[in-house]
Symmetry: C2
């Protein structure tokens, strides 16, 4: 096995040589430079349509908006729906290329993570997209809407929910196709467009839709346009993604909030119980202490390990920018650590803090956990390990609000509510078509393309595997994008680069 991988390495390196920008790229770039303002305006309208994953009415409107974007570009669009009513549909379209031998599906998702508008910076609102000169946190100033003839800086940031995750993917794919078509350049492959509306919810109906339309979706490759490029700014091709499952915990104490003076020392405090529970799950180095947590991990192949070794290590720089003195992980690098399963506290809450804090013993304490999975982990099995750990800490675990009988019987009660999750997937790094994609992306940039065995983030790649599809992830967003949080933003240069990347892949023969 080792020999085979070793022999593959030479052509791999040769293919990623730094090619000079070609004529086709020049044409695509010129088209984009001439159309930045209308593209930006269209994108801002797109961002103004709310797309929170739980809001199906707005998601339907977002889907309709995308159909309009596709029709404007001469792409016949249709909706692929799940059987369950109210599920956000997939927006689908295709363009056949005469004489093409291969078909590539371009995937992005149009739904976004939940928002708490109150947490966004002054002047920002999740669904009122807003330009700024650079990152606000680094002194950027908000900009009025740009006017015709005014230069648009690639370093400007566009703030708004999904500006980078992942309406940017939809926009880059459609604008990339537009630039190609309008520059009289030919696509080399048949192109299928596939825009999902449930990714941030864990894609619970993607499998059903994909399997139902298995024939329609027949392809040689899926390009998943989601996530950030490397922290160095270098373009990136990613061969896999971690799996993901969320688990919500609610610890119960008294049925009603109590005066902390009259009952403090006697009535149990759910925030303290939750603190003990969470503290028991990870040690001070960030190592998960849940029994068996790391047991079923499939190790990286030698080829993957070698690729990982070539990924630039910017840990010190990133760490400095983020402003903390010591990373978790006992000295392992970020790249090494995203190849391990993780347990993260996404959020924690009990009663109130700050100006709203009152002298009470709270009734409940909640935490939202996020478990990332690597190859070998199973989402249900990983949750079971956590549940067993919680039980070992003396908690009665229930799936519902506790009954009076349960309250009377068990000193520690926690409701555990796992969401639907999915497992990790990885595409072999020596797959010939993968090499072609890396080469195509490499032709659009003077910097080496970073090749990652797996992304730290998650994608429902297991769904595509079910129809025997091959996937490669080609992300375009800037890494400092506040993805999933308040003040999400896209660096405009990343949208333009992404457009060129997508157009280049569409020109594969």
């Amino acid at each position: 096995m080792k020999k085979r991988y070793a022999s593959v390495l030479l052509p791999l390196v040769a293919l990623v040589g730094f090619a000079a920008p070609d004529t086709a790229l020049q044409k695509v770039r010129q088209y984009r430079q001439a159309h930045e303002l209308p593209l930006l305006k269209e994108y801002m309208q797109f961002l103004a349509v709310p797309n929170v994953a739980a809001d199906s009415a707005n998601l339907r409107q977002t889907a309709r908006f995308i159909m309009g974007m596709m029709q404007k570009r001469g792409i016949r669009a249709q909706l692929l729906s799940a059987t369950t009513p109210g599920v956000p549909p997939v927006v689908y379209g295709e363009v056949r290329t005469p004489g093409a031998k291969r078909t590539i599906v371009f995937y992005a998702h149009y739904d976004g993570q939940p928002v708490n508008a109150a947490q966004w910076a002054a002047g920002l609102s999740p669904f009122q997209p807003q330009l700024a000169t650079t990152l606000l946190a680094q002194g950027g100033k908000l900009l009025p809407m740009v006017e015709a003839g005014q230069p648009i800086s690639p370093d400007w940031r566009l703030y708004g929910r999904s500006s980078s995750d992942d309406k940017a993917g939809v926009m880059a794919i459609l604008a990339g196709y537009e630039a190609l078509a309008q520059s009289k350049l030919k696509a080399g492959v048949n192109i299928k467009f596939f825009f999902e509306g449930e990714e941030e919810k864990g894609s619970p109906h993607l499998s059903e839709i994909v399997e139902k339309h298995r024939t329609l979706l027949a392809s040689d490759l899926w390009i998943i346009c989601d996530g950030p490029v490397h922290q160095s700014g270098q373009k990136q091709v990613v061969f896999g993604a971690r799996g993901d499952v969320n688990v919500n915990l609610t610890v119960y104490a008294s049925k009603r909030p109590l005066h902390s003076g009259h009952y403090g020392n006697w009535a149990p405090n759910p925030a303290l119980e939750l603190a003990h529970l969470l503290a028991s799950m990870k040690d001070s180095t960030g190592r998960v202490t849940v029994a068996g947590f790391y047991d079923d991990v499939v190790p990286l192949s030698p080829l993957e390990r070698q690729a990982l070794g070539r990924v630039p290590n910017l840990d010190a720089t990133i760490q400095q920018g983020l402003g903390f003195a010591r990373p978790d992980g006992n000295g392992q690098t970020l790249n090494e650590l995203i190849n391990q399963p993780s347990l993260n506290i996404n959020g924690m809450r009990s009663a109130n803090v700050g100006a709203q804090a009152a002298n009470v013993i709270p009734t409940t304490a909640e935490a939202a956990l996020d478990l990332r999975l690597v190859l070998g982990n199973d989402s249900k099995r990983q949750v079971e390990k956590v549940v067993r750990h919680i039980q070992r800490q003396g908690f009665f675990v229930t799936a519902q609000e506790p009954t009076d009988a349960e309250r009377a019987r068990y000193p520690r009660i926690v409701r555990v509510a796992p969401e639907s999750g999915y497992n990790a997937e990885r595409t072999p790094m020596d797959l010939p078509m993968a090499r072609e994609v890396v080469a195509a992306v490499q032709r659009t940039t003077a910097q080496p393309v970073v090749q990652l065995p797996t992304s730290g983030g998650s994608l429902p790649l297991y769904v595509f595997k079910k129809i025997n599809a091959v996937t490669l992830t080609v992300p375009i967003a800037n890494y400092d994008n506040n993805q999933h949080a308040e003040n999400e933003n896209l660096r405009l240069g990343n949208l333009w680069d992404g457009l060129e990347t997508m157009a280049a892949i569409m020109q594969l023969k």
Copy 2:
């Protein structure tokens, strides 16, 4: 010493014999029964004036409302202000009784704890007082406003912020005086009314105001009308109160929220750090593990210990009603435990939970702590113990947002922001005037009056000690009042009982 206390016990028991309701009480009761509706209407208008401790404009309006209530009853009212502008004034008034030898100041406070309206039950709003047939949590139904002639049940609940803590005190004192005056009964003492507006903020200016008006406030006794009666429903006289100081903690990690997939396992999680920190402060029995936390406690006197032994123990009943299986405190009773210092988590927050949770590594995690103090503890010293404990857990403690240099240097950073606090006080249980008050209260009820050496809750009694005043706390609210939290309520019968209690004390000679 032991002998002295022992000799005091006999008269103490004799005085609390169950007296039959006297004629004066009958008159006061008849007056109240005939005026329940106008009293209730006035109280609801009073509750509708917002009074959150941080909101000085509304607190001034509340103070003006109280002046109106006093003027209506023929009491000349004035405001006693602090030097600092914007501080809610004390509303003061007095009534001289010809021939009276003694003077009693009646204290209550008109400010309330913070509110989070979203947490109140459906149909309730903190400043739109609302009647219900009983506790909503026990199946109570909301009631329309009562009309003339309609019977008013003493078991009805009146929902709204400060309905029990502590506008109920203001209302009971003024209505008690009204019933006395309108029934042509004579007060036996000179009466001074003193309504504070900063109690829930820790009374930062009370000392200044009291010392400035030392002569005006000369008295033989202060009656503090605040807090709940005993959980048995029995009336209560309380000889002291725990001290209190709040401490706010903010743990800092990355400057910007991070995608939990791309950075999970590597970027430190402030919620986890806070969980470790809080878990280190108390063990699983609720015992505080901060070094020296219990060291400087002054033990109860033999008389106090004996009184404590006579307090009804309803722990099992209360526990069942609250719905938890095991209290903290290693088998000690609630009454024993409120005579010890406490450390309570009032609230805890990091990013979001539930529908707003996103897959992020939060930037900060906050906790609001409440330290209750008993005789011997000092609020500053107690905070210092906690700070030293935090430092021993490896945290750099700062009073401000950390600087970039501090972020680069210290792996664990927490901002510690203590609020102003105060110490505990206790009035000796054998004080003759205290015995008279207990006897007066006893005359209004067929149940034995509970005598507590100290309240679990806190009152700024140290301020009155500065002008050598003697204080006794005579609370009136129901114990299941959700004081300090959402769905605060007052049982109407407790308001009527409180009115009778206050009128009885005013009749002391």
